[in-house]
Amino acid sequence: MASFAAAFADVAPIEQDDGPAPVCAIAYAPEYARLMGFFRAILESNERSPRVLELTAALAEHNAAHYTVWHVRRECLWALASNDASILTDELRYSAEVARENPKNYQIWYHRRALVEKIGQAAAADELALISTALRDDAKNYHAWSNRLWVLKTYGGWAGELEFCTALLDADVYNNSAWNHLYQVKAQLGCDPVEEVRSTLERLNHARENESAWVYALAFAKSDERAAAALLAHCEGAEGVRSQMALVELLKTSDPGRASTIARRLAELDATRARYWRRRAEGLGNGT
């Protein structure tokens, strides 16, 4: 803190002001409050310099969710990078560290995206590696997944994704994020819908009531008649509640009467959603 006081000795800090509302003195986190005083002054003066870059890092350490801090940090980086491009690669290292410490933080993931975009293709592989690490700790991290999709769509690299998805599903076959990603990968690389149904059923052998896997298989059954026939053949006589739910979807057009009967039975089997299934049964019965 003392070093910031010295570095910003020429700056008059501005205190928090929410307008004329009765605002008490900040009683906690005096260091954060002091740094914010300098930061508000910087917002007024528009200074973009190495000392402001350091100030934003100190503030982000206190509060990584402060989006304006990250805005100002990027403006400093962009301004300073025109003289020294290495500042961006340093930032890749620094922000990776922050992302590892704050994996659920929205601002840091967007900061990474902006940084990769600024550097371009050369940063794409690094980004995929960082995301893979984040997903090892939390395989459902929404920001990490959406950044991954963005990197792939922007810079390519889809070929390695099949193996990536397979490993995640081997680790946790209930991981909905991995099923969704697998679908995107298949859409990108192309696939045989019948084979998708077959391999999904294989995974379902060990996890019969896996919602994500059933929805995945149904998606291919809806797009392809042979895939639908394969799934239907499996569901006829299969045990479990979700195979019956799949039957409702598979039979709703070809045999709405039977689909309605199954939906009515599901109202008993799936008590939490009893009203939903009764409504489906009625709808299938009268054609709405």
Binding site: D17, A21, Y142, Y276
Partner: protein, 366 residues
């Protein structure tokens, strides 16, 4: 000892997660006191750390107060809050999360909602705000959140809702906005933050809400989406945001509001959801947490009260909440805000809308 205190004392922590155990009573007085306390406690660390989203916190608190049937403006300090929201408007026309913060469409919507709640929309520069929001739209119909250019379907909702509040929906290309949202529809019927991104119940609210404002609910795969949403109800009675995730009070709002827009809010087990929300109350001190036994916050207090409101579980004479605009119904009515919604059990209306689109006929008004 009051009835609420007795219930709190009798409530063993271990039974909170047992869905067969009855819930404690609803404690609206405690929650109102909690909201007042939070609003006044500017010295707390939490207050300093959340400065960047101050105006959203004000919106959650004000709306929850109104839904509890209280005179929110009088109890939380209406004139000061109007000044707070006005103070967030920047020279670019947009609003930041607090005075001096960069403009963002998230906080622009929150600030406009605060002003709407306090009957003070004409106290800001409406034309500049509308121009700021409309300029965030991209050629593919999507919206950036701010000048940094991040795109997310959350911003589609914020932008359309903000423009509707300003009475300037026509300033955006609403057709393209709906087309972008439709491009984010997944194979499970849900929606994610971008095309191909995993379905997430919070994003589903933003997408279906945007389509409701754009009058394009015909683009929703209603049976598939409602099935996916109904699957979000857990054994605890609470709702989760994605498969295999824990239930969280915030999804009581995100999901129930979408089901309401689609005329299907009675398709899940309302009694068990109500019970889950009631168990998330902090009974001694007021406020609602994300799940039973956790610490309350303003965000979850708003979503819990909003969920109870949609369930019709708030007793007495108080305004309901509008599922599309997330504002008390009387505010929505007085502003003349309109959106498309499906009446209960009338799926045929959706088919009619879809057929009309195909036939190129005039749009049906609700």
């Amino acid at each position: 000892m009051s009835a609420v205190d007795e219930a709190a004392a009798a409530l063993a922590y271990a039974t909170l997660n047992d869905p067969t155990q009855p819930p404690p009573p609803f404690a609206p007085e405690r929650h109102a006191a909690y909201l007042k306390r939070v609003a006044a406690d500017a010295g707390a660390l939490e207050y300093a750390l959340t400065e960047y989203m101050r105006v959203s916190g004000v919106y959650w608190g004000l709306t929850a107060m109104r839904l509890l049937g209280r005179d929110a403006a009088a109890e939380l300090g209406g004139p000061a809050l109007v000044e707070l929201a006005r103070g967030c408007q920047n020279a670019d026309g947009g609003f930041g999360g607090a005075r001096g913060h960069d403009s963002h469409v998230l906080y622009t919507l929150s600030a406009l909602q605060v002003l709407a709640l306090l009957g003070a929309l004409d106290r800001c520069d409406r034309a500049a705000a509308a121009a700021y929001v409309a300029a965030l739209q991209q050629p593919d119909g999507s919206f950036c959140g701010d000048r940094w250019g991040e795109v997310d379907t959350r911003f589609s909702y914020c932008a359309l809702a903000a423009l509707a509040l300003l009475g300037r929906l026509g300033d955006a290309d609403v057709g393209r906005a709906a087309a972008f949202v439709d491009a984010c529809r997944n194979f499970d019927g849900g929606y994610g933050c971008a095309p191909g991104a995993e379905s997430h119940a919070g994003q589903v609210f933003c997408c279906v809400g945007a389509l409701a404002i754009a009058r394009r609910l015909d683009l929703v795969d209603r049976p598939l989406l409602c099935w996916w949403l109904a699957e979000r109800q857990c054994d605890s009675g609470g709702l989760n945001g994605r498969p295999e995730k824990q239930a969280d009070v915030c999804y009581s709002w995100w999901i129930l509001s979408v089901l309401r827009m689609l005329g299907a809010d009675h398709w899940i087990d309302g009694a068990r959801l109500r019970s889950f929300i009631l168990k998330c109350q902090d009974l001694p001190d007021g406020g609602i947490a994300d799940r039973p036994g956790n610490c309350p916050d303003v965000f979850h207090t708003f979503f819990g009260v909003g969920g109870l409101s949609l369930l019709g579980a708030l007793p007495g004479d108080r305004p309901g909440i509008d599922a599309v605009f997330a504002l008390p119904e009387d505010v929505v009515e007085s502003l003349g805000l309109e959106a498309q919604t499906v009446p209960r059990n009338d799926a045929s209306l959706l088919d009619a809308w879809a057929a009309e689109r195909r036939g190129g006929g005039a749009a049906i008004v609700k």
